[in-house]
Every structure is written in structure tokens, then in C-alpha cells.
């Protein structure tokens, strides 16, 4: 493990990951399975952000579904607009609105005709919202459990708000996309392209997270996690430090949501509420909240297990999820990433747990 923290080790790690994602996976996986992997990679991108905010910064963000959902809905709106324009020319309303009897395009949909506006919105809107909310919360030193509960309440409120919006598809959400920036989504070649986009985005996001972790900022973030008050007495505004990590996590989640939509073909309130948001945490906890690769591997493993088990054994899978939460958090708070370190330290003395209090 030590090797991967050196410069050469970092390059080796990224090269190996790129080789597996871009070389091996497309070779051995069928188109269907590659599509599934692309979906899992989106969850992994969210997990990288949670690892940063929670593992390094001590902010238990139980509401990442909000930012994931924002990115997803923003992208979905553009795709629906493009489809509508393709079918009925400029000014046509998306198909689900026609079915619901909405003849007039709501004003806030109009800018999403533009791909540039859409991408800018995906990058800026959730991040800006996270910055605003972060300042409101962290400047007043709302932290720990209070923050966790607020972020969870936010996810609940956001999902309920979306269910009430008929012009966003309500309970059913947005689905049936035909084109992705002009590429036909039914074409297997384009589906593979989406997979490559997801894989590339994951590597970029991991690189950004790595830079944040290794910079002086990264050390400061850990310092805030372990002693927020102490950092203030050294002359730093701890709120600013936390906002950066929180906003980065929001940005990552938004990007993941935006890629998720063309890959999976549907986004609805059911995949962004309280439960999906807390489920993002499970993979991160299993993999190792404070490490870089841990959350990615954990998220992929949980998503894979869910797909493999939940349909055949729904009851057993729910038990497994619950028991995993209990076992990992209570017994192995450092996740799988800490197993190696644990084994090394075992002979000397019990390890100091990297727990975010």
C-alpha cells in the first residue's frame, strides 16, 4: 500500500486502472454488462466525492442524491428537449408533457435546448448550491450529527419536491431518451462511447481528488476533521475549508448524475431520495472512507452485489445490506483499505481508528 503513495506508485495505479477500464473491460464484457459497469462507475464517481467530504473532511453527507439528481435532471431535460426538437421542430414539447396534456413549454425548460448551457448548468448549479448551503451551515458551526441530519432532510425534501413537479415528470421522472448530443442511444457503438465517458470521468475525478488530498489543503482538511476548533485557533476559517470539500463532492455527484441519465435511460425521484442517498455511503464505508481507491472499489462491489442478488433474493439482499452497515462501521471503520494497515500494526498495539467524530 505504501508504494501507491509515491509518485511512481500513483502513475502505476492510474495506468493500471486505465488499462482495466479502457482495455480489458470492453474486451471481456458484453454490451449489456458494459452498460451495467458504466452505471456502476457513476456510483463510484459519487463515492469519490463522499470519500473526500466524509472520509477526509468528517462531513457525513447523507444527501448526495440531491446533487446526483440535479446533474441527472439537468442532463435529462436537455436530452428531452433535443428529442422533442428532432421530432416536432423548434418549440415542440417533450413527449411526456404531451401525454400529461401540457401544450405550452414551461419557461425554465427553454434554455436547455442549448447543450452549452446544459453542461455549464451541470457543472455550476449543484456546486453553487452546495457552496451557498455550505456557507449557511458551516459558518454557523452546524456540524456533526446536525449536519448529517440536515443533509438527509434535504434529500427527502428534494425528492418530494420533484414528485410534485408535473413538468419534470412527477413520480415517474424523465425517461426514454433517443439521442445524446446527436448520437443515437440505441446504437451499441454509442453505448460503448458512453461507457468510455463514464470511465474517463471517474479517472479525472479521482485525479482531482488525489490532488486535493495531497495538497496542503488536503492536510488542512484532515486537521479540520480531527480538530475543527483547533484549526480556528490557528487563524483559519474552518468553514471555508469544509465548503471546498463539500462543493467538490457535490460537483462530482452532479457529473455522475449527468452521465447516469444517458447510460441508464431514466431518472426519477426514487433514485435520489433519502434511501438512495444513504446507500451511496455503504460502498464508501466498505471500501474505506479515508482512502482514494477504497470508495471506488466499495461502490463498484456494492452495486455489483445489488444487481446480482437483489432480484433473485430480495429479502436476503436487504438483510445483507443492513448487516454490512452494522459490521463494517462497528468493527472495521477504516473499511477494506485499512485491513493491510491493521495487519501490520496488529502485533504492536490496537490501531487508532480514523473515525470522524
Amino acid at each position: 500500500m505504501k508504494f501507491f503513495s509515491t509518485r511512481a506508485g500513483t502513475w502505476t495505479g492510474f495506468a493500471a486502472a486505465a488499462l482495466v477500464l479502457f482495455g480489458l473491460a470492453p474486451l471481456v464484457l458484453s454490451g449489456f454488462r458494459l452498460g451495467l459497469l458504466a452505471q456502476f462507475l457513476c456510483y463510484a464517481i459519487v463515492a469519490v466525492g463522499i470519500g473526500l467530504a466524509w472520509g477526509r473532511g468528517g462531513m457525513l453527507t447523507l444527501g448526495q442524491g440531491v446533487f446526483f439528481g440535479m446533474g441527472a435532471y439537468l442532463m435529462a431535460m436537455h436530452l428531452k428537449m433535443a428529442d422533442a426538437e428532432f421530432r416536432g421542430g423548434p418549440g415542440a414539447v417533450p413527449d411526456f408533457m404531451e401525454l400529461a396534456g401540457i401544450r405550452e413549454l414551461p419557461g425554465y425548460w427553454v434554455p436547455f435546448t442549448s447543450p452549452v448551457f446544459t453542461i455549464a448548468a451541470i457543472l455550476l448549479l449543484p456546486t453553487g448550491f452546495a457552496v451557498l448551503l455550505g456557507f449557511a451551515v458551516f459558518k454557523r458551526r452546524v456540524k456533526g450529527a446536525y449536519f448529517a441530519i440536515l443533509s438527509q432532510a434535504l434529500a427527502g425534501a428534494f425528492a418530494i419536491l420533484l414528485i410534485g413537479q408535473q413538468t419534470l415528470g412527477g413520480f415517474n421522472g424523465l425517461s426514454r431518451f433517443r439521442y445524446f448530443f446527436g448520437f443515437n442511444l440505441a446504437d451499441p457503438v454509442n453505448q460503448q462511447m458512453l461507457y468510455f465517458i463514464a470511465a474517463g470521468a471517474l479517472l479525472v475525478v479521482m485525479a482531482v481528488a488525489l490532488q486535493l488530498r495531497r495538497s496542503r489543503y488536503g492536510e488542512l482538511l484532515v486537521a479540520v476533521r480531527d480538530g475543527e476548533e483547533r484549526v480556528r485557533f490557528l487563524g483559519y476559517d474552518a468553514a471555508n475549508i469544509k465548503v471546498v470539500a463539500y462543493a467538490a463532492a457535490a460537483l462530482f455527484a452532479s457529473i455522475a448524475g449527468a452521465i447516469f441519465v444517458p447510460v441508464v435511460g431514466i431518472i426519477s425521484p426514487a433514485s435520489i431520495g433519502i434511501i438512495p442517498s444513504i446507500m451511496f455511503i455503504l460502498g464508501v464505508a466498505i471500501g474505506g472512507r479515508a482512502s482514494l481507491a477504497g470508495p471506488v472499489i466499495g461502490a463498484l462491489a456494492v452495486a455489483w452485489a445489488q444487481t446480482a442478488l437483489s432480484e433473485q433474493f430480495p429479502s436476503a439482499w436487504t438483510y445483507a445490506q443492513g448487516l454490512l452497515f452494522i459490521a463494517v462501521i462497528a468493527l472495521l471503520p477504516g473499511g477494506i483499505a485499512s485491513v493491510g494497515a491493521l495487519a501490520r500494526r496488529l502485533p504492536s498495539k490496537p490501531t487508532a481508528v480514523e473515525a470522524a467524530a
Partner: protein, 294 residues
Amino acid sequence: MDLFVGQLFTGLSTGSILLLAALGLSLTFGQMGVINMAHGEFIMAGCYTAYVTQQVVGDAGVSLLIALPIGFLVGGAMGLVLESLLLRRLYHRPLDTLLVTFGVGLVLQQVARDVFGAPAVNVTVPEPLRGGVDLLGTTVPKTRLFIMALAVVAVAAVTLVLRFTPAGRRIRAVVGNRDLAETAGVSSRRVDAGTFFIGSGLAGVAGVALTLIGSTSPTTGQSYLVDAFLVVVAGGMGRIKGAVVAAVALGTFQAVFETYSTASLAKVGVFVVIVVFLQLRPQGLFTLRTRSLA
């Protein structure tokens, strides 16, 4: 005037439901720093206790009276098991208790699903509680009045226990200063277990009462949980007084907001109000001011 009275009653009624769900949390979250996400499932256990009791006893009125204390014991026992098996070793990691108890909640939901099935079940409302009462020009359902009365009784009971019994004094001592209380010979371990028993028991009672106004399914408890947590956050850690005021305020706010817009916007409104409120009082309505850094 009628509209106003109607909203006031709806608000008080929503508030008392919130309060019943949040009262136990206020004890366990506020006083021990433990974030028990399984609290919702303890409420759900209370609901099913009422259901099972009615299946066995038959008479709706008698079964309700029996189910209330049984619900307390069922919730309390589950809390005691949870506390002694898991939470005891996690007291210094409050955020981790949240995730662990979420896992416990998942398991309990699935147990309920396997035992009682996923579809909702209903409890028959006893004859004396059916219908409504005319109060100041509006009709108020008797079940709602019953829940309001129960919330008042529960708050009074908790307050009396905390204030006047030796066990209550010990609880308050541990809340005020855990280390000092231990030095003074209070076994904080036993007090924690006791607090958790009472707090979880209250969830069971809440569950029994909630069957009067809604059906019961494995996810029943979950739907109350986030709102209940918000009540505790807004009310301030460990302050029963705060929970009462916050529950009534949020309930009324929600009721009023709903009449002028939609239920979904009301949820968002509640969230916004709480974030704004925390700008003014980051520690909630009522706080214990001490010298400690925390």
C-alpha cells in the same frame, strides 16, 4: 375564523404526532449523542404490536389499552438490546452510530416484511374514538384528540420522571456532565441503558397510537423519522422543552403552509425554515451553556 381554528387544530395535531415520534429521540439523541436511525423501526414495531394485540384480543378498545404498555415494553426491550450489543462501544463515534443503526433499521424492516408481508395492515379504531367532535365551529377527529392527549401525558410523564425520581436525577446528571457524574458515583453505563429503554419505549407507544390515524407497513416508521430528527435539531440537544415547542411550531407551520400551497412544498418550506433558524440559533432553541469546547 373557522379556517384559523381548523389550521390551529391541524397544526397541534401534526405537532403532537411529531412530538410523540421525537420525544424518545430527544432523550437518546439529545442526552446521549446517539443518533438512532432505528428509532423509526421501533415506532413501526409499536404499530405491529397494536396490530398483533388486536388480532389476539379482538375488542378494539381493550386491545388499544393493552397495546400501549406492551408497545412501550417492546420498543424499550429492542432499544435495550441495541444499546447493549452495539451502541455501547460506539458512544465516542456519534456519526457512526447513525450508520450502524440505519443498518439495524434495514434489518428490522425486512424482518417485518418477512413476518407480516409488505402490504399495509390496518388496526380497527375503537368505537369511542370514531367520528369527530365539534370544537369552535370545526370538526376534529377524536383519534387526533386522543393522540394530542397522549402526547401531553407522555411529555408530562417524562418530565416528572426526569425531575422527581432518583433515576431521572441520575440521567440529568450524566447529561450535564458525564465525567463529573461518574466521579460522583453515578454508573453512566446503567443510566445510558435506562435512558435508551425509556426513549425507545416512547417510540413503541408512538407506534401504537399512530395506528389510529394510518395503516401500518414495514416502512411506516421511516416516514416519521426525518421529521422527528428535525424537531430534535430545532429544539436543541437534550431539551424536552425544546422538542415540545419545535414540534408544535413545525406542525403548525406545515399545516398553514399546506393550505396555501402543496404538501410537497411544505416539506421544502420546513427545511428552509430550519436552515434559516439555525443561522440564528445554531444550537437549537434551548441549549445548555457550558464552558466545554464541544
